[in-house]
Symmetry: C2
Subunit: 97 residues, 2 copies
């Protein structure tokens, strides 16, 4: 399996309502991309002061399936609507397990 992990820090302009809308959009995204085997996401629980703000973790059967997700038009629309211009930091990793 391939696991895609992405961690964000929001800009100061991002509101709690924005974040809730982002979570709802991610919930709506998963069913329309069948290559997603598992999809978990959520806001940081604030257990540590240095933590980032939000994480998305997607599991895929293969690198090819991950690439379909990465480049999928609905995923790109999600990024344009909810991520672009809203994050001050983004870090990602894909690894095999």
């Amino acid at each position: 399996m391939i696991r895609h992990v992405v961690v964000f820090r929001w800009n100061d302009t991002v509101t709690d309502a924005d974040i809730a809308a982002t979570g709802a959009a991610l919930d709506a995204l998963a069913p329309v991309i069948p290559e997603i085997a598992a999809y978990r996401h959520g806001p940081d629980l604030r257990l540590a002061p240095t933590n980032a703000d939000y994480t998305v973790v997607g599991d895929f059967e293969s690198v090819d399936d991950y690439l379909v997700y990465r480049d999928h038009p609905e995923h790109q629309r999600f990024i344009a609507a909810h991520i672009t211009g809203r994050v001050s930091d983004r870090v990602a990793v894909q690894f095999e397990f």
Copy 2:
């Protein structure tokens, strides 16, 4: 469930052998901390040039179980041996799913 995600960038001094030893140490860590419900980790697959280097994802039944893991002496020994002084960047999130 609580998911703990941590993403690292290694210092330039860290070798492939070091990273392999870190992976083996993580594999050895999971069985000695029963509060870990699932534990996945690995080096970045280099699908994107801006990616970080390594990720650990741990799942826990509760925040309390995560805190037992976080503060466990064997986990602290792992951090001292494999992380402290070896990373140029570390970002973490804990979220509920």
